[in-house]
């Protein structure tokens, strides 16, 4: 029989016992829905976790430091040193790294101890410069107030605990000014006579106290992108460009001046290199190391996270499949019942010239059609279920004064995979009834009343 005639007959047969077939299809739909809902939760949680983690900058960021940087300060053990000579982490190096493929941006970590004056009271804290790109990273989602109005604004965002130190009502701080007191590094004129009789290195810098008035624009729970290479968590955040122009003396300055005559140049304690995606971190890290810098990323942690979610998804998938397995039995039952009911019809079909394969295919197509519709509606129900769970969770989170989250996610591959899976499972369920129908003896079938 031609495929179109086969499907015509299959649809006609399904329509004739519409209630029973609709209920069977509904069973498949419920099975698929539970599978889709489970997997969408798994995918959603995974996306949520990787979004949060990638927003944190931990997994797509490589932290670059000069190779001879001192150890300690809570740093992980550095990898085996390469043969390349150590290089200074200066602006030239920054530009060079920026030109590497798959690099989004390279920004220095500007981070220094300083004193903040508010209402004429001094507070010691660590200040960190935030790149403008952190605006969209999601780290500032749910903050009080606003992100910096421009990359060079004289504005500050406070970490909540620090804000609480400043005022009992942290929210009231927004819009107020504070004074940042910092040590500006001013280069001493370089000694032109390089071959001085003493042979001592020239250069160096003097440290001059300065003040900058900053407007508090926002308050954030934790410091975003704390990353690696920080000297304690920063509690006052300001635009990176503004922080850079301060030329505030940093921890590495003293070391640099002893080591080399680089006082005139801007050198960095560390650079953060953001890759386009975590998958490119590994090769990028290797390239940076081969340039003569030390580099570190948290890629391994990300790998084990992915492994965890694969196992998690698998478990959810298995639980979700249970309902589908039950639905499969429903298909077998419906089709076996249909054979009994349509025994005589099968006999007539065979008498009129239907081959065993025609009868088999007819039952197969009927099972497949139930699978197709079951899969389609199952995806729809599953999606709705996921939305309902997300909605319920967010209502709960809202009551707990927490930010809403996107708990379930139904990507297009899940839609297609669920429908294909439903069809395959239904066809498998149709195997036994179809072969039983095909083997029916037409003489017996015609005699059947």
């Amino acid at each position: 029989m031609k495929p179109r005639d086969l499907s015509d007959l299959a649809f006609r047969n399904l329509r004739e016992a519409i209630l029973r077939n609709a209920l069977t299809t509904l069973g498949v739909a419920v099975g698929v829905a539970s599978l889709v809902a489970m997997l969408s939760l798994g995918v959603g949680l995974q996306e949520l976790a990787s979004k949060r983690l990638s927003q944190s900058g931990l997994f797509d960021t490589i932290f670059v430091t000069p190779k001879n940087n001192f150890r300690g300060m809570g740093r992980p053990q550095r990898e085996v040193q390469s043969d390349k000579p150590p290089r200074t982490l200066d602006e030239d190096a920054r530009k060079e790294i920026e030109k590497l493929p798959n690099v989004i941006e390279v920004y220095p970590q500007v981070r220094f101890f300083t004193e903040v004056r508010f209402n004429n009271k001094p507070f010691a804290t660590v200040v960190a410069g935030m790149p403008d790109s952190s605006r969209n990273s999601g780290s500032f989602d749910g903050m009080q107030g606003y992100f910096f109005s421009s990359p060079t604004a004289d504005e500050a965002i406070l970490q909540i605990e620090f804000a609480t130190d400043l005022s009992e009502k942290p929210a009231s701080l927004i819009g107020q000014d504070l004074v940042l007191r910092y040590a500006e590094r001013q280069a001493l004129p370089a000694n032109d006579d390089a071959s001085s009789p003493s042979g001592e290195p020239s250069g160096g810098f003097s440290v001059v106290p300065k003040e900058l008035r900053l407007k508090i624009v926002g308050i954030v729970e934790t410091e975003p992108a704390a990353g690696y290479g920080g000297y304690g968590n920063a509690r006052l955040l300001m635009p990176l460009s503004t922080a850079s122009t301060l030329r505030a003396a940093q921890v590495n300055d003293l070391r640099d001046i002893v080591r080399d005559n680089t006082a005139n140049k801007t050198t960095y304690a560390s650079l953060s290199v953001r890759a386009k995606s975590p998958s490119q971190v590994e090769t990028l890290e290797a390239s940076i190391k081969s340039m003569g810098f030390a580099a570190f990323s948290l890629l391994d942690a990300s790998k084990s996270l992915r492994t965890f979610f694969s196992v998690f998804d698998l478990l959810l998938g298995i639980f979700g499949s249970l309902a589908l397995a039950v639905a499969t039995l429903g298909i077998v039952n419906t089709l076996v019942m249909a054979i009994l009911e349509r025994r005589r019809e099968i006999g007539v079909l065979k008498a009129l010239g239907a081959a065993d394969s025609d009868v088999q295919q007819l039952f197969f197509v009927e099972a497949g059609v139930m699978g197709l519709f079951g899969g389609f509606f199952g995806v729809l129900f599953g999606w709705l279920l996921g939305r309902a769970i997300t909605f319920g969770t967010n209502v709960y989170l809202k009551r707990q004064s927490l930010n809403p989250i996107e708990l379930s996610s139904v990507p297009w591959w899940l839609v297609i995979a669920a429908i294909v899976f439903a069809i395959l499972v239904s066809l498998a369920a149709g195997l036994y009834p179809a072969s039983r129908a095909a083997k029916l003896n037409p003489v017996d079938a015609l005699r059947y009343e």
């Binding site: 029989m1 031609k2 179109r4 005639d5 015509d8 007959l9 006609r12 047969n13 004739e16 005589r344 019809e345 006999g347 007539v348 079909l349 065979k350 008498a351 009129l352 010239g353 239907a354 081959a355 065993d356 394969s357 025609d358 003896n441 037409p442 003489v443 015609l446």
Partner: protein, 238 residues
């Protein structure tokens, strides 16, 4: 041996069944030849094996021993798919209980063999109409079989059997469920169709007077054996 004039040739055909440990000899060593364009009536009491013999000729069943040649094909040599094709293209069947599919309209019932024979969709409406004209039933095509009288249903069944233009028409008690007037009308129709199309008809019946009136020859069965096969003279028919 079969010649060009033979439509069906049965040689020592037997069919045994085992039922609950007992062996039943439904057809026992039957040899019979049916000529092309012949109308043969198979007579016999219930359980005489006539319907089993008809099913063997139809290719719905295979003999335990013996050979069946139909339209030059040795049925024993055909695979199950070839046998299905033989049923589809060479054989047309009608039954006592009509066996129309109740969920389909008349038109769809008649179209069914065309679907199985993979006839082009464009060609089908013409073939259905032609078959219906032959049985003189061209109205109520959209109706379902249960909405028709027994005689009309049997006409539809005949149209369905004719739609693939078979060479052999096999009828299993076609008048069994009909009153005598309608039964006669159906046999008269079969006779007309046979003459118009030049078909071979084998009809199983237990109504001897009707068979004598319409068939060319009677074959009488009893206990699975062929008791006699005789030509019907015009005198006998009257």
């Amino acid at each position: 041996m079969p010649n060009a004039e033979t439509a069906i040739q049965l040689e020592h055909v037997s069919r045994q069944y085992t039922m609950g440990g007992a062996t039943i000899q439904a057809v026992n060593d039957v040899s019979l030849s049916v000529a092309r364009n012949e109308f043969l009536a198979l007579l016999g009491s219930s359980g005489s094996g006539k319907s089993t013999l008809l099913n063997l000729i139809a290719g719905l069943d295979r003999p335990t021993s013996g050979s069946i040649m139909a339209q030059g094909q040795n049925l024993a040599e055909l695979t199950s798919i070839e046998l299905a094709r033989y049923r589809c293209n060479t054989i047309g069947m009608i039954f006592q209980s009509f066996n129309l599919l109740p969920r389909m309209t008349l038109e769809e019932n008649i179209e069914l063999p065309l679907r199985l024979a993979e006839v082009d969709r464009e060609e089908r409406p013409g073939r259905v109409r032609e078959a219906l004209e032959r049985v003189r039933l061209t109205h109520r095509l959209g109706h379902r079989p249960t909405e028709l009288s027994g005689g009309e249903q049997q006409r539809v069944a005949i149209a369905r059997a004719l739609v693939n233009r078979p060479k052999i028409l096999l009828a299993d008690e076609p008048t069994g469920n009909l009153d005598s007037a309608t039964g006669e009308a159906i046999l008269s129709l079969l006779r007309d169709v046979q003459r118009q199309l030049g078909m071979t008809i084998v009809m199983v019946t237990h109504e001897r007077p009707l068979a004598e009136r319409y068939a060319d020859r009677l074959a009488i069965m009893g206990d699975g054996k062929l008791l006699s096969a005789s030509e019907i003279t015009k005198e006998a028919a009257r």
